[in-house]
Symmetry: C2
Subunit: 187 residues, 2 copies
DNA sequence: AGTAAAATTTAACATAAGATAAATAATCAG
DNA sequence: CTGATTATTTATCTTATGTTAAATTTTACT
């Protein structure tokens, strides 16, 4: 749990009681490489913290698999479009490496909000930051060329190439594998 | 204020006291068509509710103006990438029509969060919903053709064509005016 | 109403990225 | 270690969208 508390502290420091309450709704999960952590069609009721490994959210558009995002160590991953609406998710979470996670039951978490405003505040801030990231991502996709987006990704996550197959990176960048290969070939 | 309270009720109903407290940090603003409500370079410290009119957020990329989003009646608009980070915004808010707004001072609002957890919860839910919209927008831009995106926009906001110049719509869709005109010409 | 300015469309050409297929390289299971 | 599978690259051709410029339509101002 230490890594998780450290992560929380970046957003909002919690009282001992709040930490205890959260601990009780967390449980460790280990997942092997390429396994789905959450499958398509179910409503998202878990928020995951990544202690070790890499995760990605993916979905299908016209039978083609699209990677929506990646998450690495010391980050949270959840299918928010389901978590915040209660609707079944069209997306899945898959582990790209053998991974250690902490699963936080979101139903119980949201119940804790009533007793612990500090926990509500913590997650408000976590998701506000994620919201900002997503707004910036819209901008990146909307008006940067595929090559610019590739270079930006390399700058922001220099190790992504070592850890994530190119086919996942391509759809994340909004292009085909072939285009990505072409862009990489230029230099 | 009635419209604003009705809007709030869709997310979280507030006590009389909370409503009173919010009312005190709100003030009406009237802006003429084409005027900037907020300019580039300042930190966002206001959340606006649109009673009447249309707003858009825009910014510049390589000296070309890009529309990030539109907002119509009974919606909230804010430059969240600045609001939630405290950094100056590279974006401006402009009114597309003569408009009536309610300005909510965000510094004072965030202070109210300490006294009124119900207000914190209200805005948490408002921005969670906005976050979900943004996630869906990434998907829309990432893997739909310009024509699909245009048709989706028409379906979601049928009156957008009557109220918003095409040049704004083009950059919102991530294409040039010329491309948009071509797409429209097909039918 | 009449003119200037702005918005939109049309046209011609250029280019980035898609589609398909085949070749090569890397990974994995036994 | 070897063969089979999967990932990546390369090649060719196609297509959607970008770029620039000009024509037309609409809007705004006096």
């Amino acid at each position: 749990m230490n890594e998780l508390i450290t992560y929380f502290n970046k957003y909002n420091t919690l009282s001992e009681n709040a930490i205890k309450a959260i601990s009780e709704i967390c449980k460790p999960v280990n997942i092997k490489k390429n396994q789905d952590l959450q499958t398509i069609g179910h409503t998202c009721r878990t928020i995951y913290f990544i202690k070790k490994g890499v995760a990605r959210i993916y979905y299908y558009k016209d039978d083609i698999e699209i990677t929506e995002c990646f998450a690495f160590e010391n980050a949270i991953i959840a299918r928010v479009e389901s978590l915040f609406t209660g609707k079944p998710s069209r997306k899945a979470i898959q582990m790209v490496e053998n991974s250690e996670l902490i699963a936080i039951n979101s139903t119980k978490l949201f119940d804790l909000y009533d007793t612990f405003p500090e926990i509500e505040r913590l997650f408000r801030k976590i998701f506000e930051a994620a919201y900002v990231d997503t707004v910036n991502r819209v901008e990146s996709i909307q008006f940067h060329s595929a090559e610019e987006r590739y270079n930006t990704l390399l700058k922001e996550s220099p190790n992504v190439l070592q850890r994530v197959p190119l086919k996942f990176i391509a759809s994340y960048l909004g292009i085909t594998q072939v285009s990505l290969s072409r862009i990489r070939g230029i230099r």
